[in-house]
């Protein structure tokens, strides 16, 4: 009988041993890493590990660039330095993880976050480093393109996130379809609607849209208010000073309802890859996406099959033809508690080296840089880069970075119904306005 009990206990100790074995494994890799820095004089010093919880594509340009810089930096510092990157590109999964970490009082040293109301809460709780004053103090503020930094600002002008990317968004169109249907590239929003109507009448899907990820549809909602007011409307809406139902709001809803008819059927359940493939496969005439997909467009662009145009204008609008959606993506933010001299030193090193390496991967850099001479850039890249240098002072800032997450969820869920004609403007207005009123309390 005792034997059994003992063997049972043994099983448990074995299992525990296994478990601690697993637990120890992460430590092992950590120390294994420090061994590789074969510098006897410095190995007595403690190794600095900085954790970056990121939301960038795995092995994408940013991921690779940052790893490369971190490796260089580590080598220059005798190997006693390590950047641990843990990246989850899938945004909902990432945000759930980030929020759990923060709710569990376990914020990493560096995080990725948009300048949204949640970020504002973190700032108000004193958890994030003031990046604007950091850049100014270190004399790095002017190293960045102004719009790339402005995008990261809160409405009050403060800035707590550092941009690592720089994008423009445009409407790609299929030249063959346009020619076959005798339509011209639209200059104004009215012309754009006419083009869509004509294409649709000829049995062609005018625009393919990714409704699953929500943000592409939300851009359509933001287009006319941006043309009329810049970002003022969305700021007023957020602050409860404007209603979804006032003149600009109604215009925005009407535009989405009109455009909705020209989206591919079932767009609300069409995912990113499908929407893009529909366009690339010649099954839709237009597709709204940013420069980050230029690699996917390149082949057909060079073959003269596709081209792009920017957001059309409205007569007497506040914003002009060279003003559209420019963004510098999700930013990097720093934990106040762990932002010490060592981390600062690394970030400055990143700012000095990032632009060149990142641009070398055929990406638009938010940090001003000479293009590396040894790399051949495509015409498409150079053209977009030129466009970006010529943008006006206004730029469309996505609505999801303004709205509190509750309202944003309600708007994003229900705008799909508005676009497909399954919800009336009145209902939508009430939902959005009510939610803003509740969240203002």
């Amino acid at each position: 009988m005792k034997k059994r009990l003992i063997s049972l206990l043994m099983v448990f100790t074995m299992v525990t041993a296994l478990l601690t074995g697993c637990g120890g494994k992460t430590d092992n890799t950590g120390s294994g890493g420090s061994d590789s820095g074969k510098n006897p004089s410095k190995s007595s010093e403690e190794k600095t590990v900085v954790k970056w919880l990121a939301s960038r594509p795995v092995d994408g340009a940013i991921d690779l660039t940052m790893r490369e810089i971190a490796k260089q930096y580590s080598e220059e510092h005798g190997g006693n330095w390590e950047l641990q990157v843990e990246t989850t590109a899938d945004r909902p999964s990432y945000l759930q993880k980030l929020k759990t970490l923060i709710a569990g009082n376990n914020m990493p040293d560096i995080i990725d976050i948009d300048a949204d109301p949640y970020c504002k809460e973190l700032v108000d709780a004193g958890m994030l480093v003031d990046v604007k004053s950091f850049l100014k103090d270190e004399g790095k503020y002017d190293d960045f393109y102004p719009i790339a930094l402005k995008y990261q600002e809160f409405t009050d002008g403060s800035m707590y996130t550092l941009p690592l990317e720089y994008h423009v968004e445009m409407i790609w169109y299929n030249k063959e379809i346009f020619a076959a249907n005798k339509v011209e590239v639209p200059k104004t929003v009215d012309e754009w609607l006419d083009v869509c109507a004509k294409l649709k009448a000829n049995g062609i899907t005018p625009i393919s849209v990714d409704g699953v990820d929500r943000w592409p549809v939300q851009r359509y909602l933001a287009m006319l208010p941006f043309r009329d007011t810049g970002n003022d409307y969305i700021i007023n809406l957020r602050d409860g000073k404007a209603s979804m139902g006032d003149e600009t709001g109604m215009k925005s809803i009407k535009f989405l309802q009109q455009m909705g008819q020209y989206f591919n059927e079932g767009f609300a359940a069409t995912d990113y890859a499908t929407a893009q493939s529909l366009f690339l496969d010649g099954k839709s005439a237009m597709y709204y996406i940013g420069d980050w997909e230029q690699a996917a467009m390149l082949e057909q662009y060079e073959a003269g099959k596709v081209d792009y145009f920017y957001l059309p204008t409205t007569p007497d609008g506040k914003t002009g033809a060279n003003e559209f959606c420019v963004n510098s993506g999700i930013g990097m933010a720093f934990n106040t508690k762990t932002f010490d001299e060592k981390t600062k030193d690394f970030i400055l090193y990143v700012i000095d080296n990032y632009g060149k390496i990142y641009a070398g991967r055929q990406q638009m850099s938010p940090i001003k840089t000479e293009l590396p001479k040894d790399i051949k850039f495509t015409d498409l890249y150079l053209r977009i880069q030129k466009d970006m240098n010529n943008t006006g002072e206004h730029f469309l800032k996505p609505w999801d970075t303004y709205l509190d997450s509750g309202t944003n969820a309600i708007m994003q869920d229900n705008m799909l119904l508005v676009a497909s004609g399954d919800m009336s403007a009145e209902d939508f207005i009430k939902l959005v306005d009510d939610s803003i009123a509740v969240n203002k309390q």
Binding site: M1, R4, L5, S7, L8, V11, F12, V15, L18, L19, C22, G23, K25, T26, T29, L53, R56, P57, V58, D59, G60, Q84, E86, T88, A89, D90, R91, S93, Q96, K97, T100, L101, A103, G104, N105, N106, P108, D210, V212, D213, W215, D271, Y272, A273, T274, Q276, S277, L278, L280, D281, K283, I289, G290, W292, E293
Partner: protein, 275 residues
């Protein structure tokens, strides 16, 4: 004549259902050898330009092996614990004569109704306090905990079916309680164990939500998390590579299932009927 027609209809129905059940595997495999645009624009046709690019990409990343090893570790240890803990707890509840057993049993079964998402934040805070985030154990604890209610229930039903006379005879022979369990009772539970193992191995292998929350170290990532490696900027997903990775990742459970097939179904037979 009529009988023969009936037989044919019968076979046809079975076959039809078989097609419905098997189609996803076929589709998954076809999807994994299609180029991206072709996959999205003609998702159901046979591949026109079959390519191994997706698989090459997955193997070139070279992480899938590590992910699978992590999943295997979590799944294996969880299963061991589930069986060890629920076979003993079920035994205690079914075969001991104490007033508390009924209440404790009810307390256990209560757990089958809990949505797992609510545990994320409390467990996370708890883990970070005792410092076991990023370890396999942080996944094993909730996996085992949430499997226990149902598996205790199944063991309990099985033990209730065991005649008490069997135990009485053993007691008369001078066997201790532990010996009765180890020598007489536990060996009889083989089928229940197989039923539980075949159900939970798949559930645990495929879990995403616990892994995503408690693991933030690429060395400890599981397969389900690894699938997110193919998500690009702004929500673009490289489905071809994702499906290639899934095809590779479901191979181990498939092989295990087909090899153990005879025991699994036999186990289910017994486990279920005695359940």
């Amino acid at each position: 004549m009529k009988k023969k027609a009936g037989k044919i209809i019968f076979s046809l129905i079975i076959l039809f259902f078989l097609v419905i059940q098997l189609y996803p595997i076929l589709w998954l495999f076809m999807a994994s050898i299609k180029p991206t645009v072709e996959l999205a624009s003609t998702p159901f046709s046979f591949p026109h330009n079959p390519t191994l690019m997706n698989f090459i990409k997955v193997f070139k990343d070279g992480k899938i092996g590590l992910y699978m090893w992590n999943s295997l570790k979590v799944t294996g240890i969880s299963l061991l614990l589930i069986v060890a803990l629920s076979s003993t707890a079920g035994f205690a509840l079914a075969k001991f004569n104490f007033r508390a057993t009924k209440k404790v049993y009810a307390f256990f079964t209560f757990g089958i109704m809990v949505p797992v998402q609510i545990t994320l934040i409390p467990l996370f805070i708890f883990y970070s306090k005792i410092g076991i985030l990023n370890t396999s154990f942080s996944l094993i604890l909730p996996q085992v905990g949430f499997a226990l209610p149902l598996s205790v229930m199944m063991f309990y039903s099985f033990y209730s079916f065991l005649p008490n006379e069997l135990l009485e005879a053993a007691i008369v022979d001078g066997c201790s309680t532990y010996r009765i369990f180890a020598k007489i009772v536990f060996p009889l539970t083989r089928n229940t164990i197989i039923t539980i193992a075949s159900m939970y191995s798949i559930l645990i292998w495929n879990d995403f939500i616990f892994a995503n929350t408690f693991i933030s170290d690429s060395a400890a990532k599981t397969v389900a998390m690894g699938l997110k490696d193919y998500v690009g900027a702004f929500g673009n997903v490289d489905w071809g590579s994702t499906f290639a990775a899934i095809t590779i990742a479901i191979l181990p459970p498939m092989i295990v299932y087909f090899v153990l097939n005879r025991w699994v179904t036999a186990g289910m037979t017994m486990g279920a009927t005695k359940g």
